[in-house]
Structures are given as C-alpha cells and as structure tokens.
Amino acid sequence: MARSNIGEFEELVLLVVAILNDNAYGISVMEEIESQTGRKINISAVHSALDRLESKGFLDSHVGGATKARGGRRKRFFKITVAGQKALDFIKEQRNRLYDQIPKLSLDYVSL
C-alpha cells in the first residue's frame, strides 16, 4: 500500500473524526481532542488539519446544520473515507509491527 503521508496531528484528527462518526465538525473535533488528550489546541489548527485531510482524500465533507448556537451559520461535517480508514489501519499495523520488534532490553530502558 502506498505510503500514507499523514502527520502526527493529522492522524489524531483523523482518529477523532472516525470516533465521532456522524458528528465530526471543527469544534466537536477540537473538544474531543482536548478531552481525550488534554492538549490545548486552537480551532484554526483543527480546521487546517481537516482541510488537508480532505484534500488528501481521507475525509469527505458536507455542509449542513445551521443552528442558533452558530448565529445561523452552517457547519461542515466530516466523515472518514475508505482511504482514510485504510490509512489508519496501515498506520496502526505498521506501528504494532515495529513495536513488537523492540527487544526487551531497550524497553526497560525506555520505561525507566
């Protein structure tokens, strides 16, 4: 499979979009990341990550859901694509494979 050129933060965003399933848009993604990892991030960072992932084909989006909470403005919902799913699988598999090859010795060292 082709190398999935995906950054660390992008991976995080991609995962969260997958978790949120039908309710993934800028703020929900940001809040989810904050609550799951405790990282403080700016909404603009989330937006550009989402945009990048979409242009790479890992996410799909549609516009909808104007609410009063947004002053009547619509939001852009994101959904993970098959390519996105495969990229996540690939990353996970690769990481696990590498992780499993770590000799015991160095793991001790790391855990110190």
């Binding site: 848009y25 800028g26 703020i27 700016n42 909404i43 603009s44 960072a45 937006h47 550009s48 945009d51 516009v63 104007a66 009063k68 909470a69 947004r70 002053g71 403005r73 619509r74 939001k75 852009r76």
Partner: protein
C-alpha cells in the same frame, strides 16, 4: 442575559471577512461564533471576546487567504500569462520599433531617475537634524550679544549658538603641514542646536575651553592616521590647540558641512561683544510648540531695545524712536528655518551652493526629455496599431471582450516601460559621474539605488506605462471586427493622425527650445569671456596668503623681483575676481555727499601689473611719504563725483581723515560681469604690506610674469618654502580665477547641451521610426505613383513636405517661449547679448529641420528608389 445577545468584536469579523476565502468563510465564522457563545458561559464575555479575536487572527493562514482566483476567476491569471507571452512575441516580431521604443524611453527615464535623485537630495537638506523644524537662523550676520541676550530675554528660545566661518586653517602635526578648508568657530552649545554625534570626547564640554578643536572623523583619520586624536595638542595656524572631540562626518545634505570646529577664545569681542558689529551667524532652537511669529515679534522688540540706543550714537538722533520717525530702517533679526537655507537663501547658507531655481530647471529638463520619450512611445504604438488590426479582429471574433483587449495592450506597454526602467537604471549608473559634474554634487551608487528614489522611479514607470499605453489600448480595442478582418485600414478617424502629428510637432518644439537655450547660454558665455575687463588678466600670477609673511614681506618681494620672469609686481589686500569690500567716503564740498566706494589697497606697482591705464593725473608712489593720503579713482567714480576737475580734490572718511585724488584710471571689472562697473578707490599700501603701522593687509602679491609659467611657479614655490614654514604655497592665475566666476553658467551650458542633445536624439529616433512606418504603409501608393511616372525626387519631396510642416509648427511654438525664458535668464547679467539677432532663432529651427530631413529623406529616397514591382506584385 442570553449569550446570543452578545456580539464579538466587530473589527475581528470585518478582518475575517476581508481576508477569508468565500468557500471557508461561513464555516469558520460559524465555529468562531459557536466557541464565542460557549465561552461566554464558561469564561465570561471579556475573555470570550478576546479569544474570538485571537481565533480570527490564528485563522489568518495562507490556506484561508483570498487568492487571485478568489477575486475573480482562475481564468484571469491564465490570460495574464497569455498577455505577457503575446507581448513578448509582438515586441520581438518588430524588433526595430521595440528597440527605438525601449531605448528612447530608457534614456528619458534615466534622465528622470538622476534628476529625481538630485531633487530628493536637494529637498532633504538639514532635515536629519532632530527638531530641524524648530531650528532657525537669525539674520545674515548678527552681533555677538544676540545669541546670549535673546536666550535670556525670550523664553521660547531653548538653545542658541553662534558660528563663524568657513575658513581654511593650517594644521601642523609633527612637522607635516595640512591646509584644511571648511573650518568653523562655534559656541560650546553648538551640539545642542545641531545634531552632532561624538565618537570621542564629551559633547557638552568639547568647546567650552578656548583653544579647543573638534575634528570630524575623516579629518582626524587623515591627521592622526587612524589613531585616537582625543587630547592631542596640535599646532593650528601657529597656535597650540587641543583636540577635545571627534565627531562623525556631517552628511552630504547639510548647509553646515564642517571639517573641524574650533572653540572661541576667551576675549571680550566674543564673551561680551557689542550690538553694532555683525560678525556672527546665530542659530536658535525654539521650544516645542512655540509660535515662530511671536518669537519674531519679540526679536524685533529686542533689536529696538539693544541695537537702537547703540545705533543712534552714530546717527546722532536723540532716540531710536526719533530715528524711526525720520525714516530710519527698523532693525530686526529675521528668522529663517534652517531647512530653507540651502535652497531658498543660498546667500545665507554656508557655501552649500544650492538654489531652488536649479531644482526647477532640472525638473523641467527631465520632464521635457521624458515627454519626448513618451510621445515616441505613444506614436509608435498607435502607428503600429493598424498592423495589428487583424489580430484584434480575430480576438474579437473568438470572444475577446473589449476590456480584455485593453488589458492586453496595457500589459504590453507596461512591459516596455519596465524593461526600459531596468535599462534606465544601468544607464543612470553609467553616466553618474557626468551628472555629478553637471549638478555639482557628489552622488554615488548608494544614493542612486536608494529605496526612496527607486520607489519614485517605479511609480513614474507605472504612470508612464499607463499613460503611454492607454491611447493605443483604447483605440485598438475599439476596432470593428468585420472591418478589421476584411483588412480595411482603420485609422481611428482623422483624430488619431492629427494627434500623432501634433505630438511630433510638440517634440520638435521642445527640441528647438532646448537648442535655442543652449545657443543663448553659450553665446552669452562667449560674450562674457570676450568682454574687455578693463585690464589684462592674462599672465598675472597671484600668490595667496602672503599675510603670513608680515615682517618677511619686503625680503620676499625683493627676492621675487630678482627673478627674470617677474616683470612687475604689486602687493594688495584684495583678490580681484573675488569680493572687494566697499567703504563709505564723503565728498568735501558745500553739500557733502556720501557713497560706498569699492575700496582697494595696493602698492604702487598695481596699475602696471594689472595693465590698467592712467586716464589723467599720476600714479601714487610708495617712495613719497606725502603720498600716503593719495588715492586713485576710476572713471566711474569720477562720473559719480561729477566734478569737471577731480585731481587735487579730496574725499573724507570723517574725523579729518582726508584723501587727495591724484589720478584717474580707466574703468575695470573687478569681479563677475553680472555686476556693472562701480566707482572704485585705490589706496596706498606700504611696501611692507602695512596700511597703517599696526595694520598688515598684504594678503596677496600679484606678479606680471613672462616666459615659462610652470618654471616661474616652481621658482616662486621654492622661494615660498624657504621663507614660510607653516603655510602651504597657494597661487592662482587671474584669468583662470575670472573664468571660474562663470562656473555656474558653464554648468548650465553643459546641462542644456546634454539635454538638447538627448532630446534631439530621442526625437529623431521617434521620427525615424514613424517615417519608416508611414512609408511602409504608403509603399504601394509610392509604387503606383512611380509606375505612373513620378520621379524619385518628387516622391521624396512630397514626403519631406509633410514632416517639414511639423518642424515649422514646432518652431512657431518654441521661438516665443524661448525668447521669454531666455530673456529672464539674461536679467542676471549686467552685460547681455542682444536677443534680437534672428540667427539665434532661425539656426536652431533649421538645424532641427535638417536633421528631420536627413532622417526622413534617407528613408523616403530609399523607398522611392526601390523597384515598384516588389510592392505591386503581391496583388
């Protein structure tokens, strides 16, 4: 209160809407609002608003900023690329026209660039001083007390300082002698008025002690070979002086361009001074926010209070009020902004040599050259338009909008002007030295490639491109596609060819005007140099600084007289061609009259050394003691006196100091011919260089020499070095000194020669291209004429006639304007050439006509002689 009633900061929303891509705007705005409302509840309104703004700022990323494609559509960029490509192709396709276009414009722009640089420089004088808008110069020469008294009496005056200079002084550093110009004396407060940056020494104490001197860095480096100069004691003009400071060299754009500044001696003429002798330049700095007109009024009051009582002691009035009542001149110290001195008061500036008129003249010349170049540009573009009518037609058929065509042609003209700009920069750099000569400045590449100058050039280029390109752009884009494709030549109506002709005539007018100016300037200069001065300035060698000789003067003169090359000599106080001061004398008669005569002092050899003629009476002689009160006058003085018999009559300096006229010399000019001959008195100076026992005035020795000048100068120099220790040998030839008086006018002459040369060259380039184009269009017509029996001569004449009319039209405009302008210029001279010489006017016009005939004639003869078959065969 519901959070939805709150609003985020308006500026942030506006900013977001300004930069954000439309596609992303709603989503970003929505998220930002949602966060804002949430935060109101959790963190309060204030923080929410702050964070909202922060979010918006963080969204300012390349990804979300509107690009070109958002402003209109992606298509525009592609089209722009296409325009540039097409422009290149059409420029390359018609290399000849493009070359003339770009070359001419580059020359024009280069001239403009240099002159922009010059003007920027001239306008920047003295602006670098901090608070330069509050620094004023008082009067021209002012009394010693003015600075101190005005600072004490007028609260608005923050600081005041006095200067004297510039003068040259001789530095003796361990036996090495340097003569350094541009030295000043100043009060210790000078660094509070002017911005001076000290490298070494204490600014506030540098000039507070007598016998102190502050050197500029470059002078210090020269004298002390890059060693620290602070605290060194050096010999300046024979006195021991301590270096108390080294300052950064003043920039080029200051009227006060000192080389070194000495402190004042602790003497009463400085510290106490008086109110009647005007020996100082006074500069004041006003307090922030003070009203200069109010200060001016207070200065007037001050002048009345202190100068008034002193004044009436001389005039004999009871009081200053009486003096004023009897029509006496009210005393004041006019305030002039320091930044105005260089351009608007060149006489007051300390030899910075500026003049607002030069700025105007230079600008006018640059503008003329640029206009000529632009006219070429426009003419060639419109003329070529017909050739591109098919292209325009095709584009229109394929769906081009008129706007797009306009854009295309504008891009093309912008390209031409930008290429020209690059060339112009190179050209300007090449001729920078020559320009320095013309402008009497010392610009270097840093000045030329300064951001401000380049920015101005760029703006100029864009304007030129737009203006020059707009006419062809709008005419061409207006073509009807059907007609254009059918090959019908669309001239854009009669208007276009009329405009073209008018522009060419205007070019000729400018060229003729500039040539006329050149001719007049040179004729006047020639006239001046051939004008009889009344004496023979050739072969007169002047030895300067002989005032240092004092007691050695007689010995030095004796040894000079033994040199075979020295025919005659005379010692004088005054340097002919420089300024000679005037002294007031009274006639001795029933109703005494007073007049300021030009007053010279000389030993008895003066008349013969100078080649002056004695009209009546006799010369005075140094041998007769009784002759000390004898004077010579010139004919102008005799005329002023109005007496039938002047010999033996007396003039008085007052207090029984009477002088008897013993002889009358012919009239002579002692300085520039801008001044008329004035009444002159020549008084006796003793052979020892003394006018009175304690007054040594032998500043110059004049030698009438013969034979090998160079050898003579060397011999005199040897003698000088034997006699004088501390002063380098300086000399001048009198005829050269007189010629140097017209340096400014010569620069003018050069400027006009250069600019009229450029104007003619550019105009001819344009004419050549235009003629070539016209002939190309009339190729078939000429062929038909020829087939029908016209001769080469008649065809050539037919075409020449058209262009001759244009030259004539140009001459009709240029001659009256030239007459008017040059008459104004000549007003400066007491001796002028007559402008009513028709040759001045006809020759330049003929000259331009000749060049036009040559340019056009060559081409038209070539066309007329070509084989008509070639032109007609294609059909």
């Amino acid at each position: 209160m519901s959070p939805y009633d709150q609003e985020p900061p308006q500026w942030a929303i506006k900013f977001l809407r300004f930069y954000c891509k439309p596609r992303a705007l709603e989503i970003i705005e929505g998220d930002a609002y949602e966060l804002f409302y949430k935060r109101i509840e959790s963190e309060g309104v204030k923080t929410a608003r702050k964070k909202f703004s922060w979010d918006v700022l963080k969204f300012f990323r390349f990804r979300y900023i509107k690009g070109l494609e958002d402003i209109n559509s992606l298509n525009n960029i592609v089209m722009l690329k296409n325009y540039i490509k097409i422009s290149f192709r059409s420029l390359l396709k018609q290399r000849f026209y493009s070359l003339i276009n770009i070359g001419g414009l580059a020359i024009g722009l280069a001239a403009c660039l240099l002159i922009t640089m010059y003007i920027t420089h001239e306008l920047s004088y003295d602006k670098f001083h901090s608070d330069s808008d509050r620094i004023y110069r008082l009067g021209a020469w002012t009394p010693a007390r003015l600075a101190i008294q005005s600072k004490m009496d007028i609260p608005e005056i923050d600081e005041a300082t006095r200067l004297q200079g510039p003068f040259s002084q001789t530095f003796n550093i361990d036996g090495k002698i340097f003569k350094e110009p541009m030295g000043f004396n100043a009060d210790s407060t000078f660094n509070k008025v002017f911005s001076v940056e000290f490298v070494e020494g204490n600014p506030s104490e540098a000039l507070s002690e007598p016998n102190s001197i502050v050197l500029t860095q470059s002078l210090s480096n020269k004298l002390f070979d890059y060693q620290s100069a602070l605290g060194k004691v050096i010999k300046v003009d024979g006195e021991l002086i301590k270096v108390t400071g080294v300052v950064v060299d003043p920039p080029k754009n200051t009227h006060f361009r000192y080389n070194f500044i000495g402190s004042y001696p602790n003497e009463t003429w400085v510290t106490v001074g008086n109110w009647t002798g005007n020996n100082f330049y006074t500069y004041i700095k006003l307090a922030k926010g003070s009203d200069p007109t109010e200060v001016q009024d207070k200065l007037k009051e001050l002048a009345g209070k202190y100068v008034g009582p002193e004044l009436v002691k001389f005039t004999g009035h009871a009081s200053y009020e009486d003096y004023l009542a009897e029509g006496g001149r009210e005393r004041n110290f006019p305030m002039r902004l320091m930044t105005d001195l260089h351009l608007y008061h060149p006489r007051l500036s300390l030899r910075s040599g500026g003049d607002i008129n030069n700025v105007y003249i230079f600008s006018a010349v640059a503008l003329f050259i640029l206009i000529i170049a632009c006219i070429n540009f426009m003419n060639l573009s419109t003329a070529r338009s017909a050739m591109r009518s098919k292209e325009v037609g095709m584009r229109k058929v394929l769906g081009s909008l008129r706007k797009q065509l306009v854009n295309q042609f504008l891009v093309e003209s912008m390209m031409v002007s930008i290429i020209s700009m690059v060339l112009a920069l190179g050209l300007a750099a090449l001729v920078l030295n020559g320009f320095n000569n013309l402008a009497d400045r010392s610009f270097d590449y840093n000045d030329l490639f300064m951001g401000q100058v380049l920015l101005q050039l760029l703006v100029l280029v864009l304007i030129v491109g737009l203006l020059a390109g707009s006419y062809p752009a709008f005419v061409l884009s207006g073509f009807k596609p059907i007609k254009a494709l059918k090959g019908e030549v669309q001239k854009g109506g009669k208007g276009s060819s009329f405009l073209r002709k008018g522009l060419v005539a205007f070019q000729f007018a400018i060229s003729i005007f500039l040539i006329i100016s050149t001719v007049v300037v040179f004729k006047q200069l020639n006239f001046l140099s051939n004008q009889k001065l009344g004496f023979d300035a050739e072969q007169v060698l002047v030895i300067k600084n002989t005032n240092v000789l004092e007691n050695d003067a007689e010995l030095f003169k004796n040894r000079l007289s033994q040199m075979p090359a020295v025919e005659r000599m005379s010692m004088t106080r005054d340097f002919m061609s420089g300024g000679v001061s005037d002294w007031g004398y009274q006639t001795i008669e029933d109703n005494p009259r007073e007049h300021s005569f030009i007053n010279m002092f000389a030993t008895d050899g003066f008349l013969e050394t100078m080649g002056l003629q004695l009209v009546e009476g006799r010369n005075f002689t140094n041998e007769l003691v009784s002759d000390t009160a004898s004077i010579l006058i010139n004919e102008a003085a005799k005329k002023w006196l109005g007496w039938d018999e002047v010999l033996g009559r007396k003039l008085s300096r007052g207090d029984g100091e009477d002088y008897t006229i013993v002889g009358v010399t012919n009239d002579f000019n002692f300085t520039s011919l801008k001044r008329k001959i004035e009444p002159v008195i020549i008084r006796v100076m003793g052979n020892d260089g003394r006018v009175e026992a304690d007054w040594y005035a032998g500043n110059y020795v004049y030698l009438r020499v013969s034979g090998d000048y160079k050898r003579t100068v060397e011999m005199v120099e040897e003698l000088w070095e034997e006699t004088v220790l501390d002063e380098p040998f300086e000399y001048a030839f009198l005829d050269e000194s007189f010629a140097a008086l017209y340096k400014e006018e010569e620069r003018f002459g050069k400027l006009f020669t250069a600019s009229s040369g450029l104007a003619v060259v550019i105009a001819c380039l344009g004419l050549f291209a235009l003629a070539a184009f016209t002939l190309e269009r009339r190729f078939k017509e000429i062929a038909v004429r020829k087939v029908l029996g016209a001769s080469v001569k008649s065809i050539t004449l037919m075409i020449l006639k058209n262009f001759t009319q244009l030259v004539a039209a140009g001459a009709i405009i240029a001659i009256p304007v030239g007459y008017f302008v040059m008459e104004g210029w000549l007003q400066d001279f007491a001796y002028q050439i007559s402008l009513n010489n028709p040759m001045i006017w006809i020759l330049p016009a003929l000259f331009v006509a000749m060049i036009a005939w040559l340019t056009v004639g060559f081409l038209s003869a070539k066309t007329a002689m070509s084989n008509p078959i070639k032109a007609l065969r294609s059909e």
